[in-house]
């Protein structure tokens, strides 16, 4: 997790220098990176085509947006695209590559070992309302509030997807721009929190999920950001047969999400983008993670997006496979 002794401004400068060179020399025609959004606690995607654009490039603690999802569209117009990849962007890249959505040769990956991105909601709860109230010092956050100064571990403020992430360093890149870090989550224990959150009866589970999913607006942002949702035509918009109406009734919301999660079974990279993008705060990641856990239990360890050659568990089988139903 240590970023050497580079602070974020130095790191940003180093990244900018590397990509500027490639953009100016024509090695890439577009760079996908991040720039500041409307708020200090949000960084949004940057589509840079000139040196001037690159001046807006940032690498800070809010670059959560997974950029790989933009690649298939951009590659349809651009010759060669450069992209900054954190751990999850890199796994998303593998995911899309495995679905044959990308041409590997036309993408230049700049690897950025990721320290984990911060969750504004957690910062706000700790009293941080302005950028000036927060200073990052290595693995600590120095917080200034009315009550004085407080030092807290940075990990207390990570987005859920980052807290749970076992591979913050990119698993694929052409060029690593920053020194590698230290992962904080062991892949084998990544589901531990789920046991603590077990809901014992079907009625409790149904009450929980219907309570959450009734808020769904059917905006499909969760699908749009998902690197495992790569169908050209989604069942949600399919006309013949038509599976979903335009309403957002509970039964249709639940049908959409159950099938969305199922379509990601064995393919979901657990990047949590669905949850981060949801405008009504539905904790979508949990369902996908519960399924990933079941898949590991039944069909062996598998982490999507790690190895593009390893067949996703639902695209293969073994004759001696166990079943979750009685087979006698």
């Amino acid at each position: 997790m240590a970023q050497d002794n580079l602070n974020r401004d130095q790191a940003t400068a180093r990244i900018r220098a590397a990509v500027t060179q490639d953009l100016l020399s024509g090695r890439i025609s577009l760079l996908l990176g991040w720039q500041k959004g409307l708020f200090w606690w949000r960084s949004r995607p940057l589509f840079a085509r000139s040196q001037q654009d690159l001046e807006r490039l940032v690498w800070d603690s809010f670059c959560a947006v997974n950029l790989s999802r933009y690649l298939p569209e951009e590659l349809s117009i651009e010759e060669r695209v450069g992209i900054l990849v954190k751990g999850c962007d890199a796994r998303a890249f593998h995911r899309l590559l495995q679905d044959r959505m990308l041409d590997r040769e036309r993408v230049l990956l700049y690897g950025l070992p990721c320290p984990g991105m911060l969750d504004y909601r957690l910062l706000a709860e700790a009293g941080v309302k302005e950028a000036e109230q927060m200073l990052e010092e290595g693995e600590e956050l120095v917080i200034q509030t009315g009550g004085g100064e407080e030092r807290r571990p940075r990990t207390d403020f990570l987005l859920e997807k980052c807290r749970l992430c076992p591979h913050p360093d990119p698993v694929v890149y052409d060029q690593l721009l920053l020194p590698p870090g230290e992962p904080w989550m062991d892949p084998a224990s990544r589901f531990q929190d789920l046991e603590a959150r077990e809901r014992p009866t079907p009625a409790e589970r149904y009450a929980y999920w219907s309570g959450e999913l009734q808020r769904c607006l059917s905006c499909y942002a969760c699908r749009q950001v998902c690197p495992a949702c790569s169908c050209r035509e989604c069942f949600a918009e399919q006309q013949e047969p038509r599976w979903l109406g335009k309403g957002a009734g509970l039964n249709e919301n639940m049908l959409f999400h159950i099938i969305r999660v199922y379509h990601g079974a064995g393919r979901c990279i657990e990047c949590g983008e669905c949850q981060r993008a949801c405008p009504v705060g539905i904790p979508l990641l949990e369902l996908s993670r519960r399924l990933a856990k079941d898949i590991e239990e039944l069909y062996g360890p598998y982490e999507a997006g790690m190895d593009p050659e390893a067949p996703p568990p639902l695209l293969t089988y073994r004759p001696e496979d166990p079943a979750a139903f009685p087979e006698k």
């Binding site: 079907p202 149904y206 039964n251 639940m254 049908l255 159950i258 079974a265 004759p319 979750a324 139903f325």
Partner: protein, 172 residues
């Protein structure tokens, strides 16, 4: 929701008298009867059902069989649709592992529907309501037993209230 469930599913009305209609308990045309949708693969399980019939084995009329080419032909959306439109239980039946007419269809189905069953469970379905069984064409007796057992289980559970689409419930 149980009030809204009274009446009958618009598409499950009457192929067999007295079945799949009444969702109200007590009054009306008698006690509630479960509706079970069984997707049966053509080559084994459906033939098993035929054998049950020609052997004059009886099984509950609550079960509506839908013939599919292979257990792997069933799309989880079909299962969801059945629940939306009033099924109280859904069963997928296929050839025993190793015997699929298309060699590996049921191996794929085994993985898919094991995972799908877990997902439905996480989302709050009573696990008994979604089942998968292997039934060969020579197992007419097993076919009848499986259908009997599923019907009993669902009867004990009562009407399904998960994911029912209210637009499909006709007030009687």
């Amino acid at each position: 929701m149980s009030e809204a469930l009274k009446g009958k599913g618009a598409d499950n009305g009457g192929t067999a008298a007295g079945v799949g209609g009444s969702r109200s308990s007590g009054s009306g045309n008698g006690a509630w009867q479960p509706l079970i949708v069984a997707f049966c693969c053509n080559w084994c399980s459906y033939a098993g059902g035929d054998l049950a019939g020609t052997s004059r084995l009886s099984y509950p009329a609550n079960v509506r069989v839908i013939r599919v080419t292979c257990s792997s032909r069933v799309n989880p959306l079909h299962v969801m649709r059945a629940f939306q439109r009033g099924a109280d239980g859904v069963l997928i039946a296929g050839c025993h592992p190793g015997d699929c007419h298309y060699t590996s269809g049921n191996y794929h189905a085994r993985r898919r529907f094991s995972i799908f069953a877990r997902l439905l469970e996480h989302a709050g379905l009573e696990p008994e309501r979604f089942q998968v069984r292997w039934i060969s064409s020579s197992e007419g007796d097993r076919f009848a037993e499986v259908m009997q057992e599923m019907t009993e289980t669902i009867k004990a559970l009562g009407p399904n209230e998960r994911w029912v689409d209210p637009r499909w419930l006709k007030i009687t």
